[in-house]
Symmetry: C2
Subunit: 213 residues, 2 copies
């Protein structure tokens, strides 16, 4: 059966974004440090249209995390832009330009209805206002048997974890402190049957894979 | 030069003890789960006077953490007992019985003066009321060139980390959530030059060693 998976970079003190997230600084103060291990990788660069790059212990983890995904779910904050109702005159269309790197249907959790947004390369954003279970049903159907990726942010991950709907979780543990910001496990008290099944030590990151045994 | 080292077990959500710590339940609710990986190890059992046990990837980490230590520093809460001034009539003498497993001088950070306590097997507890730097000076002198171990708890580790006085830190990352309790990095905003230098994947735990490069 198709799995619900998420992967997320987390600091040693448990943050997935620094404080004071904004349109200019979507990862918050210091938050870009969470992704520095990934940027040099060929496996990260290729889907972003960049040539070259490194191959190291992180490579297979990143490749695995990108493979076999048929649909993505993300929170409103990850899709980005302003809070509150959508601006019909100047709509926010995501961080990713006209050809986002998803190339499959993406479902955005929001409290504010909006028509679907079809961009280039097969990425469509559908805005879901009736909750995480409804979004998951839509995503499963759209994924045609492939897995559903929870792209984040922390709040989205927390809601699915709390509901016991996550089948696999890959934490990219980055050995730094952020000291403040958005905590991945805020308000989450158990892993819903997920257990550590693999640890990969890599430059500037430790990959911790959790799954149901 | 002798190093200041600490090792501590931490949950995936950053806790080193669960909520509601008490004399009956010193690790708080759920806190004993942080140490379940260690209990079966021969390397853990031997210093506690127990025979047998397992050898696995954690063994060398535990052995290393116990080797070359000449003195230990711990916080009042780790030494245990009641809060406030010491009870002269029925003094609390630690969790460890008449022959504690330290076998070297131990310095306890406290706000309440008390004469030194000499127990069997070479363990003496000295109660230090004038702060972490004074305790470290005493411990360094007592260690005779060997390393000084910070035994915990989280508050003691935070104070030494915050002051940039830690040379090595081994985090035993346990893949569970506690959801509440005492956070290792509460109020700590940087690692003071410590970098991840080794990752060891072991059954039910991932050992993350930090040191100055």
């Amino acid at each position: 059966m198709a799995k619900v998976r998420f992967r997320i970079a987390m600091s040693l003190d448990g943050y997935t974004a620094g404080p004071q997230q904004s349109e200019e600084n979507p990862l918050g103060i210091g938050g870009t440090q969470l992704h520095e291990w990934a940027i040099p990788l060929a496996a990260w660069r290729a889907p972003h249209g960049l040539e070259g790059g490194e191959v190291n212990e992180s490579t297979r983890v990143v490749e695995e995390s990108l493979a076999n995904i048929g649909a993505t779910i993300m929170g409103r904050n990850m899709f980005g832009g302003h809070p509150g109702p959508w601006d019909a005159a100047e709509p926010w269309n995501g961080w990713w330009g006209v050809d986002p790197p998803f190339h499959h249907p993406v479902f955005v959790l929001t409290h504010h209805a909006r028509p679907p947004l079809a961009l280039e390369g097969g990425t469509t954003f559908t805005f879901v206002t009736d909750g995480i279970v409804a979004a998951l049903e839509l995503a499963r159907r759209a994924a045609h048997g492939l897995d559903v990726s929870l792209a984040g942010g922390a709040s989205t991950a927390q809601q699915y974890l709390g509901a016991g709907l996550v089948d696999e979780m890959e934490i990219h543990l980055v050995p730094i402190l952020l000291g403040a910001g958005e905590r991945l496990f805020e308000g989450v008290r158990e892993l819903g049957g997920l257990e550590l099944v693999r640890t990969v030590a890599a430059p500037n990151v430790t990959h911790l894979k959790f799954a149901r045994r």
